[in-house]
Symmetry: C2
Amino acid sequence: MGALEISEEALSRLADDALARVKRYWSALPELPAAPRSDGAATAALFARPWPEAGLGQAVLADFEAIAAHARPSGGKFFGYVVGSAEPVGVIGELMAAALNQNVTSWRSAPAATEIERAVIGWLGEAVGCAGFAGSLCGGGSAANLMALAMAREAKLPANESGVLSPGIVYASTEAHMAIPKAVALLGLGRDNLRRIPVDAELRMRVDALAAAIAADRAAGRRPIAIVATAGTVNIGAVDPLPALADLAAREDLWLHVDGAYGALAALAVPEKFAGLDRADSLALDAHKWLYQPIECGCLLYRDRARARAAFTDSGDYIRILNDSPAETFAFFEESMELSRRFRALKLWLSLQYHGRAAYRAAIAQDLRHAQLLAEAIAAEPALELVAPVPLSAVCFRHRAKDNVAILRRMLARGRVYVSNATIGGEFVLRACFVNHRATEADVRAIVSETLAAAEELNR
Amino acid sequence: MGALEISEEALSRLADDALARVKRYWSALPELPAAPRSDGAATAALFARPWPEAGLGQAVLADFEAIAAHARPSGGKFFGYVVGSAEPVGVIGELMAAALNQNVTSWRSAPAATEIERAVIGWLGEAVGCAGFAGSLCGGGSAANLMALAMAREAKLPANESGVLSPGIVYASTEAHMAIPKAVALLGLGRDNLRRIPVDAELRMRVDALAAAIAADRAAGRRPIAIVATAGTVNIGAVDPLPALADLAAREDLWLHVDGAYGALAALAVPEKFAGLDRADSLALDAHKWLYQPIECGCLLYRDRARARAAFTDSGDYIRILNDSPAETFAFFEESMELSRRFRALKLWLSLQYHGRAAYRAAIAQDLRHAQLLAEAIAAEPALELVAPVPLSAVCFRHRAKDNVAILRRMLARGRVYVSNATIGGEFVLRACFVNHRATEADVRAIVSETLAAAEELNR
């Protein structure tokens, strides 16, 4: 028996113990504070320990409760950042995926997982009005945006062979996510060649300003390559004017990438807000955001599989040696920067079918309603002020009179709701984002009462 | 109640059902064929279906057995590629990690997960003789190699701001993994600027040839930036001469990256084979290979955290607004290309402590022994021929008289063992790689008998 073998009985006991702890955690979620009571030194002291020479056996599971006590819970009180609420069928999907341990590099390595990922990619494409797009699942928005811009670079100013000899210019609004400059830097294009285009009063990219920037670059002899539209800015959920941007991209022969990591999946419930999405060359989505899946489950969709292959194929023909049917020679690594890939599609496969499409549509619609409800409650409260429109489910607001940094600190310490912050017009403001299938109207109303209670504490 | 809510009872039943299926799968693993009996059309037909409008509920789990039947099992018969064997404590760690749903961007977002990842990074660094290295977990070797070369580029020929204006030169052996040219291409350095250095008879990079290539590039006015050593080539497990490469890198002021995705963790059992690893600037490891963890669990270690920050920081100071202790302002995304990150460290935390360091050392030593055992069995068999040395646990061999492509097809169809293939000296050969804690001596011996049986079938 190998050194790491576990008897069937011991493994069964271990798994039962682990699942029992997970179930207790799920049951306790509604009662957990919105933020853990952690500080750096205490948390480090709990978990700073050497790798023991001798095994501890099942006793290792006893750490679970300490970990949970120093973890941010995905309960109905969480409205920070853009983080989904870990739908539990998806969690169970992760268990099954880990047990199956498929390396979803290619059909040859993982037949069922490859077909399921392709099926799920089809569902996601249809859900956002982009039926027929190809794509793959990936780690998240950062990976999807990076791969999309790699495809754009290779399509418009190829650099894979010779390198970036004269950088292409990329355009995104001032509200675009930090993943965009990070991708531009990684790809060797240079952040200096990312133009941050100003936004209108609703924080959408200004098409006139974009057209002027493109013209100025062309006049200076520089080479525009891509427009990055945002479909749901991280701060307020603004959706850039996709049809006008698609027209401009077509006219200027530029790649149109849409960063829909936060927002695009809302097209399932409100397709009218996302008209023009199907004109993108590539589209980033995060199922771990607005499809509530456990982290991580990003997705890149693209119109033309050949563009992905031009950007990422580096494998020669070796997988074609043993098989020759198109299905059996399919390899994700020829269309993605990843080689080893886990079976991310299984959680979506199980969770999306368990609940059905109507339930997902209703959950997203509820998030949108919750955001409007919060916006109305803030508007009705004289001490508070809404600082931006609410086109999707992110609500930015401030206390008119108090230090909002101090209020946020107090709110997190109180633990009734978790909100985060944003910078709007250069100012620190509070922000609540609804991609949470567990949140109730009471939780939404608590955001207002907790802001006021935190402000009141500052008077003491 | 929200559209996606599940009652505690229904969720408990669902989770029990799922775990029971996983346990049955684990119990059946020894009996499963080494490769699924799948073909492209049949697998697609099983899983090509629309996302249903109405939910299916617990019935979705019934797909599990069909998926497993069309999945490559991680049992003791698998010796293909370099894929670990999904140690089940790690699998349970994935369940717990998904339930906790931590977004391990930063301490602020995930205190316990951040501390545990830092602890585990410390363990991995120590295990390979690189105590004190910083790092983070990532998707796999492709991501780790890409990030390492991004750090190298930024350290030696910064491009994040202005772009790659004159490409730097990167050196790797002809045996380096395809992740290296892929990373060089993505970074905008250009595959033309990757020098493939010839290898010696044991398929290790030739230091004299490397020195000559560097001198030639300098003489031509080009700018060398990085050497990529491989510690365990994917084909045969060759370890490039690390001390001599480190000396050369120091003399030439080049970044030394070691791609140890497959091999470096064997330093836990045979540190003498990896002398010099601690002189690397960066080191890629895959715990989903030689620590047997479920996919995916890659790791990048680096000597100087400031180099990672120079390559990846793009966030300004916004996380410093609410906290000011060094522990509490720590953010992985300032040292990694990822933003959203799942709690990969939990499976390592549980699995490594469950079994203890001695058991992992023994398991790796057993893989090394299994490789030697196979090499000896092949040497003793006149019809077969070992085609390369076996410095670690990858064994390349061929049938002397028969078509080895046809033999491999037959071996996979027979289903007793799963081996894959490699190209050695331009020739298609068979390859068995041992990173499998479930394999027994009988499985190892079956590789020989199955090769002979497959060859025999070709006579019929």
